[in-house]
């Protein structure tokens, strides 16, 4: 595990301040995006076009519960969603830029040939199939997999959102998602995946409470 002793990280905190700021901003933005998105969904809580709604979607006609929504009505939900979207995107761009320019990618990015075995071992450990956790340096393979793939996942959310927002002006993008109603499916499926990510994230972080403190204070220096 050479990156643990990478001189680049000497004296650097486990969670440098740009990452902490991005993380907590992202937590706020994602809550606002999800809540306002669900408010928008309420206006037409179906998937598929008029007259040809998809049979496979189990929640046709079921609006999300009121406590999950932000914006009070469709117009308010749209205002919140399209306002916060900019900050969500800027936050993401800032993170990706920092991720690569600072070299943080070297200890955070999932690289299959390095991390795949460890990720599987860690997963088996969480399932209690394996008794001991695999040796870990900065992050374990499963953490790297989760925190790297979530970046791509964020990108898919932004692109599918743009495809719904401008299906004519960004027609090529909308086509990529199988048309306007396909983009709505991807965008809502993304929200469900995000909710699952959040649940897993909160469970795992409660098993490693030191990580919460690190994400506030920055943690020890290498």
């Amino acid at each position: 595990m050479p990156e643990a002793h990478d001189p680049l990280f000497k004296g650097r905190r486990e969670q440098p301040w740009p990452i902490r700021i991005v993380h907590w901003c992202n937590a706020l933005f994602l809550i606002l995006m999800a809540g306002s998105g669900l408010q928008i969904l309420c206006a037409y809580p179906y998937l598929g076009p008029r007259g040809a709604q998809y049979r496979w979607y189990p929640f046709q006609g079921t609006p999300p519960p009121k406590w999950m929504r932000i914006g009070e009505w469709l117009g308010g939900g749209r205002q919140w969603h399209f306002a916060i979207a900019w900050f969500f995107v800027l936050n993401g761009i800032f993170y990706v830029a920092y991720f690569f320019l600072s070299g943080e990618w070297r200890r955070r990015m999932f690289r299959p040939w390095r991390d795949l075995k460890g990720a599987i071992a860690q997963f088996l450990y969480y399932l209690r199939i394996r008794r001991t956790p695999p040796p870990t340096d900065f992050y374990n393979g499963l953490q790297r997999l989760a925190y790297s793939s979530v970046i791509i996942f964020g990108l898919v959310m932004v692109l599918s959102g743009l495809a719904i927002y401008k299906p004519v002006q960004l027609h090529f993008l909308t086509l990529l998602f199988g048309g306007y109603d396909g983009a709505r499916v991807v965008h809502l499926a993304g929200l469900c995946l995000f909710a699952m990510f959040l649940v897993a994230h909160l469970i795992l972080v409660s098993m490693h409470p030191r990580e919460i403190i690190n994400m506030v204070t920055g943690g020890p220096r290498e």
């Binding site: 037409y44 076009p49 205002q79 399209f82 306002a83 004519v168």
Partner: protein
Amino acid sequence: MLAGCDAHPIKGFLGAMKDWNEKFEGFVFSPSRLAPELPAADTTPDNAFPSYFISDTIPIAPPDWTLSVGGLVDRPLTLTLAQLQQMTRTDLRVRHHCVEGWSAVAAWHGVRLSEIARMAGLKPGVKFVEFNSFDNEYFSSWDLGSAMHPQTILAYGMNGHLLGSNHGAPLRLYSAIKLGYKMCKYLDEINFLPSQTGGYWEDQGYDWFGGV
């Protein structure tokens, strides 16, 4: 606190972001980009295509209905339905995008708004177009670029028949490049204007540009 009954613009953070987003929408809009025309097989069944109006009952046009075209124009017009039907006809079958999130497909038959503008002769300084209806106080206003788009028409027909009174008969605005609430139904007046006005939904908080 003053309880105003006029339209109050949204203030603060959300208002500033709404203004920014409307500028962004104008920036993204390309006057030459066409929405794809769809095959007849994609048509939504007539009974599945929603029809909205704000009056308590379906608005019915007066028997002497005409369309007035005015504002900053050289030749104000008063057009009957028969006159509109004699003009060059444009047909389009495109996807309709509602602000609520649903989409549907229909064919629309009518006259390009750019054709009406050419007949009336726009004076310099026209930047916006306002559409008024006999459906209570329903109205909307557009940027000139979107109004002059080749897929923006005044429709008197839908899916091969005359426009039904539930869909805005005798005449409605239809466009492939705007959300549904921008396409004023039960149309009776069009004004070409130098400054921006609002709209029924726009004054309540939907974005004014409303492009797709």
